[in-house]
Amino acid sequence: MAFLQISEPGQSAAPHQRKLAVGIDLGTTNSLVASVRSGEALTLPDTKGRYLLPSVVRYLDDSEVIGQEAKQQASIDPSNTIVSVKRFLGRSVKDIQTAYPNLPYHFTDSLSPVMSVASGDVNPIQVSAKILNELKSRAEKTLGGELQGAVITVPAYFDDAQRQGTKDAAALAGLKVLRLLNEPTAAAVAYGLDSGQEGIIAVYDLGGGTFDISILHLSKGIFEVLSTGGDSALGGDDFDALLVEFIRQQSQLTGELSKSLHRVLLDKAKEAKEALSHEPVFTVQFEDDAGKHISVMISIDIFEQLIAPLVKNTLRACRRALKDAELVKQQVIEVVMVGGSTRVPSVCQQVGDFFQRSPLTSIDPDQVVAIGAAIQADVLVGNKPDSDMLLLDVLPLSLGIETMGGLTEKVIQRNTTIPVAKAQEFTTFKDGQTAMMVHVVQGERELVADCRSLAKFTLRGIPPMAAGAAHIRVTFQVDADGLLNVSAMEKSTGVHTEIQVKPSYGLEDSEIATMLKASMDNAQQDMQARMLKEQQVEASRVQENLQGALDADGLFLLSTSEIQAIEAGISRLNELAKGTDKDIIKAAIQQLDKLSETFAQKRMDQSIKRAFSGQSVDRI
């Protein structure tokens, strides 16, 4: 198949005709964009030579400031400056305020985390989209063209709601997501390909707001995640919070602090944390709300004592992850360190002690994730047709459904390799029941109340029967991005329902479309033009792939009349795609898909059989 692609006209592999793709590390504290140029993955700097974009957005009346400038203004305009928004993705207001009680933002809704800022109301997905958009335009300027796609990294521990939020933010920013990739896997890619290692690798990722541990098996270009663990609400920000608390205690700052003083203290705490990674003592100086000058001395010993319980929590998670992978720590051949917080020397040392080997730190821990993502983006966009790299991720948290009494029944266990599909059968408990509620949750605990509620949906149109006679088969399909899709079918009648699972605190597709429209000038027209173009691109993709498939396997797998039918469908789509009605094109694509469904399935089975028959010939 690779041969066909290369020989196709206009698809030469000349460097200037490479497709542009990037890897984006959408971080809690900082975000980065990287791309493979001349065979090397590099992070792309802004015009001032800075590659880190602080994940901070300041909203003014009719514009936004993003990055370093916004970060500098955070303490003078805290309520309009959204910092570390990643922590809020896929979370309810209650979750957020419990975890971070001192936030300077005005939440306007009691459930969904909508924040009131100078220009109006914004939600975490929109804020994340601003950051992604900034990186996208940086990349397009640097690379000199439109991006064909992006690999965006997420913490391995992100649940469905958080992943969906990330993907929606990318859609809002106008990015085509090639894959959501787990940050630790990306880091392993950045190291693994360079050193060409084989064996078990542990990736310890302590970022600003999240901690992940992943255990991977590397073999012949395949990165297989065996287990993951961690805490999506533990990171360097918590080190800062502990330092702020310490400074407050030492300077007897009791009671409520002004929002700006709180921000000043946070900045001072970060400064202290960074200084203490190379100095034994640091003195914090500031003025309190009454204008009184205060100075607090912090020694490295005190800092290490403060963070010791948190570091211990991370090591506990490492041990659990090893156990889940049925390995012992002696089998680990390398430990990869990721995330700015691994710069804290005592963290690095304790991780080294735990695994009994010195961790790898040769790639900048801030850049390693983006670099790995760029390498995969380059492969996925099609610049390296001969690459044998393949990344197999796992589901980080079990998926389940609510059963009687508020208990969870697990449908897919955590650490299952994705994509994965599992079906579950339900029945009615009343005579004549025609609808049924299904509540999908994610988490490890037995009580539904202790897990994250992903979605509730109602299965309707069940034919009225005696209690227990209807058999409803609900299929849970998780794709390679870790996103869930649910479909249901009543078995006796074959009635089929697709259910789109939208997390409780995310956005509906229609809301995304509305926001996209609002974000464009000449909204209506541009939007229509863009959607038409998308359908036309998809149509030509379908035609090319199908024609290629027919040329390769048509005669072997199909009858003459079947080939003719598909070819007629292709030329029909070809004609319709020249038109301007996107709905007609879409319908034609669907029709052709249906027409070629059996052929495509036969082809895939054939490719498997062919691979094995080649193998047995080798053995003979």
């Binding site: 796609g149 090639l178 894959r179 073999s219 012949k220 395949i222 211990k312 090591l315 506990r316 041990r319 659990r320 156990k323 492969v379 996925l380 966009v381 099609g382 044998d388 393949l390 990344l391 197999l392 299952t416 390799t417 994705i418 994509p419 994965v420 599909a421 599992k422 059968e425 399909q477 794709d479 390679a480 998809e538 993709r541 379908v542 792939n545 199908l546 694509i589 898909d593 070629s596 469904e597 495509a600 399935q601 895939m604 089975d605 490719s607 498997i608 691979a611 094995f612 193998q615």
Partner: protein, 175 residues
């Protein structure tokens, strides 16, 4: 295509675990959705579905318990969704003994040591059950399938005990 066919191996309880991972890798390269990143939406969807079967098949074939259960399901005996009560009193007595031992672990002077010997004992039981399972699944005796089903049910309890022991060990050896 059933799981065995997908992995190009005979339908049997005996599986060569040393070659299984290689076949798995090969199937991944052929079916993973990332290999269809530039394909049409339909191609991607199909890859997701086929690849899901590859993943499911691998996890089923890898473990002897799920492999045996799957073999029985191919022969029309579905243990997944059943409500079945075990009536074997010897086995039930054994279960109760193990559970009591696990519950009393906190009072022991050497809880980790007790857990370890309990683990050894259960592993022995599992080993002999798996051997019985193998001969039952190979046999064409009329009762073989029902007896195999019973052993699978018992094995599920034993594996559950093992995971509970692991949890206890986790709590006890916390640092």
């Amino acid at each position: 295509m059933n799981h065995f066919e997908l992995f190009n191996i005979p339908v049997s309880f005996d599986v060569d675990l040393s070659t299984l991972p290689q076949t798995y890798q090969q199937l991944q390269r052929l079916t993973h959705p990332d290999k269809f990143a530039n394909g049409s939406e339909q191609d991607k969807l199909r890859a997701v579905q086929k690849n899901s079967q590859v993943n499911d098949a691998y996890s089923v074939l890898k473990s002897p318990l799920s492999r045996a259960e799957y073999l029985l399901s191919l022969r029309g005996i579905d243990l997944k969704h059943e409500q079945h009560t075990i009536k074997d009193t010897v086995f039930l007595m054994q279960q109760m003994e193990w559970r009591e031992e696990l519950a009393d672990i906190a009072d022991s002077s050497d809880p980790l040591g007790v857990l370890e010997s309990l683990e050894d004992e259960i592993n022995q039981t599992i080993k002999s059950d798996l051997a019985k399972l193998k001969s039952l699944l190979d046999s064409d005796h009329a009762m073989a399938e029902q007896n195999a089903a019973n052993i699978i049910r018992q094995l599920k309890f034993s594996y559950k005990m093992l995971s509970e022991i692991a949890l206890k060990e986790d709590v006890l050896s916390d640092f």
